[in-house]
Symmetry: C2
Subunit: 238 residues, 2 copies
């Protein structure tokens, strides 16, 4: 560390750790030295080391496990918000194998106000489908979808286990998503989701609400709980 | 509650509470009955009441204060990601009064790897500016900006206290943002941010990284920590 430099010390430390991660001195999921050890190694104060680690965590280079220490993060998925995309297609592009686990499948009705919120008709019959989305067997998203029954009269859980949902829509019902409106909110992973996603609860979650349309007809409303440590979404504004 | 209905009980309860909020039976920041009281009032099980409250919290209708109870949320800000936007302009559109508090202003340098991350030149001199953004005196965002000194040679903290940053860019340097690339990540509010934002730490935060350009020159890199209970971002995909 160069204490006379105009580069703040915590940035110098960040720099050094990032370089070690990029040069694979530290590899994915490897444990980093403890805060105390980093202080000794670099001759820095606890406050400086802590700031560097916090920034590295924010930047997605490392993650902390409660009571266990600090580890090198696996690369996260950056989704460009330009065109319509599907989980299945995006994972394939990244040479990952996408799979889906159907956790529940039920037919329900929604009362007036809630139906309005979801932009569905009041008392309309909908399928409520809860699915876990995985890539290379790692659980990444916990999704709850509402699908109006009138558009997909014979839909079954089996269909959705065997094929991607949009493939079922297309092959069995000649319905293709032509437009989607997505809203992003920051939230926390709740206990039941944490169990499925195999992370600790109250970790950051990106909440993604998708209204999907086919020729101006709403065909899908999905709330996705995406692991905050795994997903980033990018948009270009002009 | 209609226990014979095909509308699940937790959805019926959500419906009833949403209706009361929309009809202002429950007003903003008012405390809701406790879980136990809701069980008694509606004749529902604890598990059903809890599920309804969790969904209402997710949907942004209510918020919980640790050890204090459940309260009606104030409306959140929905930012459409279509065109370039600024905090100042957006707040004015919503008839709110935007203000900015400059928390720190310093000149620093960035080493190679970090500069690359920020798309800046290595060892380039940059201003590091930390600002708190408020609307109607309510703190909403904690922002850290990096501005290359070469583009804004005489910038001072005073400039940024007195005028919105983009106004300073335009009036003093004839620089207008023509393109911005924004990346969204879910994170948690850290202690130092929580103090400024006047919320509890480890609450959800939307992390927003903005690279702003003027004629293909990077003029600003900003990391905004936006309160998760206050902001939603919407994009339309075709």
């Amino acid at each position: 560390m160069d204490k006379s430099s105009r580069v703040p010390l915590y940035l110098q430390l960040m720099e050094d750790i990032i370089r070690k991660i990029e040069n694979q001195v530290y590899v994915e999921n490897q444990q980093l030295p403890s805060e105390r050890e980093l202080c000794d190694i670099y001759g820095l104060s606890r406050i400086t080391v802590r700031q560097a680690l916090q920034e590295l965590e924010r930047e997605g280079y490392i993650y902390k496990l409660h009571g266990k220490g600090t580890f090198v993060a696996t690369k996260s998925i950056n989704q460009n918000l330009i065109n319509l995309y599907s989980f299945t297609e995006e994972m394939k592009k990244m040479a990952k194998t996408p799979t889906t686990k159907v956790l529940s499948f039920s037919e329900i009705e929604l009362e007036e106000h809630l139906a309005n919120q979801l932009k569905l008709e009041p008392y309309e019959e909908v399928y409520q489908v809860v699915r876990l989305r995985l890539a290379d067997n790692e659980p990444l998203m916990y999704e709850t979808s509402y699908l109006p029954k009138k558009h997909f009269p014979d839909l079954s859980a089996t269909d959705l286990v065997e094929r991607p949902m949009y493939e079922v829509f297309k092959e069995d019902y000649q319905i293709v998503v032509t437009k989607a409106v997505e809203t992003f909110l920051a939230s926390l992973i709740r206990e039941k989701e944490a169990k499925q996603l195999k992370v600790e609860k109250n970790q950051p979650a990106m909440l993604l609400k998708r209204h999907a349309y086919y020729q101006d007809k709403l065909i899908e409303y999905t709330i996705s709980v995406a692991r905050g440590d795994k997903f980033a979404y990018t948009v270009e504004l002009n």
